[in-house]
Symmetry: C2
Subunit: 195 residues, 2 copies
C-alpha cells in the first residue's frame, strides 16, 4: 500500500504536511513516495506571475494566520519566513534525483525547517549543503549529481506529470486516481488508501 | 457566545457548511449570525470575471470531486448542479433583509438544497418563492420587501463589510477577529469560539 506525496519546497501548506506524513502513513502501514515538483511553471501556465497568496493580499494575510494556527494545533514549530515564496529549485532537484534513497525524507524535512522555522534562504547552496550533511550524505557529491542534465530533466518531467494527473497546487496526496489537496486533506487521503 | 457565518448562495463549499453549522453550533451553546454576501463583486475586484473554479479547470475538476467526497463523508446529499455558479442575488437579498427572523435558517437551507440537491435555478423567483413558502412565510410579501431599495442597500453594505474585515471567499466563519475559511474549518471555528 502506498501514496504519492506531491510537494513544493516553497509552498506553505506543504510544510506541515511534509513534517507529518511519514509518521502518520507508517502507523497505518502505508509507504510514502516523495514526489517533489515545481509550482512556478504551473502558476505561470495559469497566467500568474507570483504566488496567489501574494497576488491576493486578503487571501495571503489569511493564509499566514491560518498556517500559524494550524501548526500550533499540530504541535509543529513555525515562523513566518521573511521572504515568500522562496525558490525551491535546487532542493527539488536533490529530492527528485535521489527520490528512492533512504536519507531523502530527512533531507526534505531539514529543508522545510530551514525555510519555515529557521527562516534561511533555501535557494542558497550553502543552506542545502547543510541539509544534505544533516541527512548523512556528502553535499559536494550530491549537489553535483543533482545538477546534472539528467537530474534537471527528471524534475521537469515530474512537474509535467503533476500537471498531467490534474495537480494544480501543493501539497497534493494521490491515492490511485484520487487527489487530496492541502495539509487538511492528509487524514482523508490516508483513510482513502486504507479503504 | 456567537459566531458570524458569512456565506454566498452560489458557493459550493458554503453548501455543506450551511447545512451543518446550526446544529453543530447549538450543540455547543453557540449562536449563529447568518451573514449572506456576494462573491461576484469581490472576485471582480480581484480581476476575475468568473468563479476561480471555472477559470482554472484543474482546480474546478478537483473541487467537484472533493465536494462530492466531503458531502458523502458528512452524510449530506449532493448532486453537481448543471449550471455553476448560479446567481444567488435574490436569495441573498431575502436572507439579508430578514436576517433576524427565525424562519430564515430554514429558508437558507431550502435554497441550498434547490441548488445543490434538486439542481434548480435559484435565480428564478419561482424557486425562491417556494423556498420562502417552505419556511412558512408569504412569498409575495417577503419578495416585495426584499427587493426594496433599503434591502438592496443593506446587502451592498454587508458585502462591503465582508471585504473590510478581510473576507475573500466563502464560507467564512468569523469569531471575534479570527477568520476561518472553508467548510473544513467549521469545527476549528467552533472550538475557537469555545476557547
Amino acid at each position: 500500500m502506498h501514496i504519492d506525496f506531491w510537494f513544493e519546497f516553497g509552498s506553505t501548506y506543504s510544510y506541515p504536511a511534509a513534517m507529518r506524513i511519514e509518521k502518520l502513513a507508517s502507523q497505518q502501514g502505508i509507504h510514502v513516495n516523495w514526489r517533489p515538483f515545481l509550482l512556478g511553471p504551473i502558476f505561470r501556465e495559469q497566467g500568474l506571475a507570483d504566488s496567489p497568496f501574494n497576488l491576493n493580499p486578503a487571501k495571503g494575510r489569511y493564509m499566514w494566520r491560518d498556517l500559524e494556527r494550524s501548526c500550533r494545533a499540530l504541535g509543529i514549530p513555525f515562523q513566518q519566513p521573511s521572504q515568500f515564496p522562496r525558490n525551491g529549485l535546487l532542493a527539488a532537484r536533490v529530492a527528485c534525483c535521489f527520490d528512492d534513497e533512504l536519507w531523502v525524507p530527512a533531507f526534505i524535512r531539514a529543508v522545510y525547517r530551514a525555510n519555515f522555522v529557521v527562516d534561511t534562504d533555501i535557494a542558497d547552496p550553502i543552506v542545502i549543503s547543510s541539509c544534505i550533511a544533516g541527512a548523512g550524505e556528502d553535499p559536494e557529491a550530491v549537489l553535483e549529481k543533482a545538477q546534472s542534465p539528467e537530474s534537471k530533466q527528471k524534475l521537469r518531467q515530474q512537474t509535467d506529470e503533476a500537471v498531467r494527473i490534474g495537480i494544480f497546487g501543493a501539497p497534493t496526496v494521490v491515492v490511485g486516481d484520487e487527489l487530496f489537496w492541502g495539509n487538511d486533506r492528509l487524514e482523508h487521503a490516508l483513510a482513502w488508501a486504507k479503504s
